[in-house]
Amino acid sequence: MTTASTSVEKPRVVRSGRRFTSGDIACAEGALAAGCRFFAGYPITPATEIAEHMARRLPEIGGVYIQMEDEIASMAAVIGASYAGVKAMTATSGPGFSLMMENIGLALMTETPCVIVNVMRGGPSTGQPTMPGQQDVMQARWGSHGDYEIIALAPSSVQEMFDLTVEAFNLAETYRVPVFVLADEIVGHMWERITILEAESIKIVNRKKPTVPPSNEFAPFKPDEDLVPPMAVFGEGYHFHATGLTHDERGYPRTESAEAQTRLVQRLCNKIRENKGRIIRVENAMLEDAEVAVVAYGIAARAALSAVRKARAKGIKAGLLRPVTLWPFSEEQVAQMARRVKAIVVPEMNCGQIVREVERAAKETPVIFLPKLGEEPHKPDEILDAIKEVQK
């Protein structure tokens, strides 16, 4: 799979096999494998390659690619396509992410399954378009106004760019929620060898459909036991109404009712909170008997793993806890681990975002924060030095 000129392969949906490719391209291929057939976006470094790849691939396999006039329109079009029954996504970076925030709120409020990839770069504002960053992690969680819960995944390899994008779509369809893939410029632009399974082996989840026929009493936002309502889409005869205003189970605006606001907003939060056990994924390395732990995600986790291995080679009992799911945050896993270790080292390419969550979960256990800003990710030795400091 190359980015140059036309491919010589027939247009398969899933390009199974061993491939040497970049993170952005793997992300796009993962989306296609997950069933994504609509992409609306706007060029922005370092996510542009996702759009360009989708522009080439989607028409081949019967999907739709459109470059919208801005990121606000992109997000609106994604919600529209999802409501018309098609799995939809967009990809952007910091500045575009900020523009999308209002409509992300609309997606949340209308429980629209969709995937938003943010290949994070140096910020704030225009920042450093071609340099990595992990500065939008809190924004993914809190960026839109109002109270809500989202799901965010942090790939740290090209393989994960593929796999976690598939998982993002599955989570979006399961919970009817926007799901974020928080990559960064290095993971997005680096080239690694990956394995794409055969289509039949890739697990795909589709949104629950209503089990009742259309009627005047149909309630498009009436949740099932799992707090997620089955989703009717346009053109199926349900004649339903959806709005960004606070609404009842029929979808009608209820701007006057405190009861309606409480019911709806609590459910939107509980939908994720009560299903945390099924959503959160954490990968540990050498953590069971660790005395010093490192908590790292995304590109920082690559150096962290290397540092932990080096520490072990020196006889230091170090371990790595890598949140694959950034939001909801793996508080319980971090809390449990914190009780066993002397200290936790948190390297991040920002001025302190996930480290605050770690501090909250770790309670009394000391947390050492290693910020890094700019083009270079953490070097393993920088993290190793911090581990050594703890052990003194």
Binding site: V64, A73, N216
Partner: protein, 276 residues
């Protein structure tokens, strides 16, 4: 005179939400009425209609039509409609929204959807003001008009929406007032059957706010203004299709043929799959 018979357009309305929230004499009700009549006369399959609206008084219209409908964030119904139409081209996607929603915050989406010639219909209820939020000025507020944010008289020039739509490449552009019910219904019917981006500006009365602020306190006074000031001038030059307090030029201004975005997309996909 009996009351047993239901209104002939009941099936186009969500019965559990009528009467609607719009004020007495509001033009929005007339627009909904004409839209229902157009759907009725064309015998359109209601299962294939999606009504999208933005924020504003007219934005509530999607909550009243007995079709699949969506009420988006302010200014974004056209962008949302783009996603809907491209994902399911069989749907008739109609955007009904207001002058501020479509041309202030939503201006960018309007010009690009028109440029692309996306196959959607956009009906703009132009009441010259931001009614829902209490009466602030907007991009179509006439010069010198009083609004809460132009308390010394509006010093901004107003858009000529017909000119704007024509310049952006819309294939069908018309302007009517809410008094021209039959013309408006015919225009909506034409737009629904025409391929490409259709735009209908409906000069609409907001008696409670715009009217009251500008010496037309009753809805009848506003309708009389429409009656006196409007002039049917079909196919006059869009840039000369005046809309001022003294003269409201109405009619159909643009009616051309151009392949829609959807058509070009389909043709592209065929070519792409044939190459492989």
């Amino acid at each position: 005179m009996t009351e047993e018979l239901p209104h002939p357009y009941e099936k186009f309305l969500r019965k559990d939400r009528i009467p609607h929230i719009w004020c007495e004499g509001c033009g929005n009700g007339i627009i909904l009425n004409c839209f229902a009549r157009a759907l009725d006369e064309l015998n359109i399959d209601l299962n294939k209609v999606a009504v999208i609206s933005g924020i504003g008084c007219i934005g509530r219209v999607s909550g009243y039509t007995n079709t699949d409908s969506f009420h988006t964030t302010h200014g974004r119904p056209i962008a949302f409609a783009t996603g809907v139409k491209l994902a399911n081209p069989e749907l008739k996607v109609v955007v009904i929204s207001g002058d501020g929603d479509l041309f202030a915050i939503g201006g960018n989406h309007f010009i690009h959807a028109a440029r692309r010639n996306l196959d959607i219909q956009v009906i703009c209820a132009n009441n010259f003001i931001y009614g829902m939020t209490g009466g602030q000025g907007g991009p179509t507020t006439p010069l010198d008009a009083w609004t809460t944010t132009t308390p010394y008289g509006n010093i901004e020039q107003a858009f000529n929406l017909v000119h704007l739509a024509a310049a952006c490449g819309a294939v069908y552009v018309a302007r009517w007032t809410t008094l021209h019910t039959r013309w408006l219904t015919e225009s909506i019917k034409k737009a629904l059957q025409k391929e490409g981006f259709s735009f209908i500006e409906v000069v609409s009365q907001c008696p409670e706010i715009f009217g009251r602020y500008n010496n037309m306190e009753t809805s009848i006074k506003m309708m009389q203004w429409f009656k006196e000031a409007s002039e049917v001038q079909h196919f006059s030059e869009p840039s000369k299709a005046e809309i001022t307090p003294h003269r409201i030029v109405v009619g159909e201004f643009i009616d051309i043929e151009k392949p829609s975005y959807g058509r070009l997309l389909r043709e592209m996909k065929v070519k792409v799959s044939e190459k492989k």
